[in-house]
């Protein structure tokens, strides 16, 4: 099989996963909708004294109902992010907001940092220009960068993800607290660096001090008219 055919099959595979996940997220939101409404109805009935007259029972029911509501809201937010995430592969090239892409992906990345006891702080800048790029591929790049950062860090520290506009470029800066200087060309393998090139991006080491070290990804933005 030639490389082009293999690439096409791989692309179709990614598209299929995207559609399957988007459909799954849609169905899960429907289930959550039913759970939320049923729970809401119980809350209404408790408020009206229709479920229990005993005040203690009423209080217990209210607590359970509130706990279900909290978890439904959390799960719904996760499925909303999954839905956005999955639909990114619908159009290989599109215009999008970098901050939206990072927010929806971080919902899933958070568990990796939690397991390593690293606190991730998002400092997403205002007024970033829109990007015209491959959002699904950028998701992949961010996933790899995020996980590489975690491998370089000790537990108990912070990883800051900072976005800002630098002239015609949008910058994503990973600031790794209490981490020695990193040579980005050594840290990442050749296929990954080729992926960055495909995104028309530049990967570079940022500042390195006693407190932190940085890795920066620069991507071309759309013009102000396209913002």
């Amino acid at each position: 099989m030639d490389a082009m055919t293999e690439n096409r099959i791989r692309q179709e595979q990614i598209d299929s996963y995207g559609r399957l996940m988007a459909g799954f997220a849609h169905d899960m939101k429907n289930h959550l909708g039913i759970i939320r409404e049923s729970n809401g109805l119980m809350a209404d009935l408790v408020e009206m004294g229709g479920l229990a007259e005993d005040e203690k029972v009423q209080e217990r029911l209210k607590k359970s109902i509130a706990a279900i509501e909290r978890r439904v809201v959390l799960a719904a937010d996760m499925f909303h992010s999954l839905s956005c995430f999955s639909h990114r592969s619908d159009t290989p090239y599109s215009s999008f907001q970098l901050n939206d892409l990072i927010r929806e992906e971080c919902v899933f990345l958070e568990r990796f940092s939690r397991l390593k006891q690293i606190e991730v702080v998002l400092e997403l800048g205002d007024g970033l220009h829109a990007l015209y790029n491959d959002p699904s591929l950028l998701h992949h790049v961010l996933y790899r960068m995020y996980n590489k950062c975690l491998t370089q860090m000790e537990s108990g520290h912070k990883l800051l993800i900072i976005t800002e506009q630098e002239g015609a470029k949008s910058s994503i800066l990973f600031r790794l607290q209490a981490t020695p200087q990193i040579d980005v060309q050594q840290l990442f393998d050749a296929p990954f660096l080729a992926t960055i090139q495909k995104l028309d991006g530049t990967l570079e080491g940022g500042a390195s001090t006693k407190e932190y070290t940085e890795i920066r990804l620069l991507l071309s933005s759309l013009s102000l008219e396209g913002k």
Partner: protein, 125 residues
């Protein structure tokens, strides 16, 4: 919000029925139907002021049902329900005449606020 006539059209029977009960407990004259066809068939009979309409149903798409509702009575305000990840589908529905849209799972307070706004719009028309 007494005496508002409202129709819910959603193929998720349990969802539609429970939402209907919750709106009834708040004094809204709500009815639920579970397909686009059923919803359109009952329009004349109940003459709703507001319709809560699911975007994705097996028999008809929400956008087709929306077009039929507007053909029947352009003054009926339609709030679309969408489980889609982005706001795109809701915005497309608004461009085709929907009053507003709301994401699933529904926040009842948000829905009630949108119903109030739709009623206000009707009373000013």
């Amino acid at each position: 919000m007494t005496s508002i006539k409202l129709l819910i059209i959603d193929d998720e029977v349990e969802f539609a029925a429970t939402l209907c009960q919750r709106l009834q407990l708040r004094g809204i004259d709500a009815t639920d139907m579970h397909s686009g066809g059923e919803g359109l068939a009952i329009l004349k009979e109940i003459a709703p002021e507001i319709v809560i309409l699911d975007l994705k149903m097996p028999d008809m798409s929400g956008l087709d049902v929306l077009a039929e509702i507007k053909k029947h009575d352009p003054d009926i305000e339609v709030i679309m329900l969408t489980g889609h990840g982005s706001a795109g589908a809701g915005i497309e529905a608004m461009e085709k005449g929907a009053f507003d849209y709301i994401m699933k799972p529904v926040d009842l307070q948000e829905l009630l606020a949108k119903i109030n706004l739709a009623v206000d719009k009707r009373s000013k028309a």
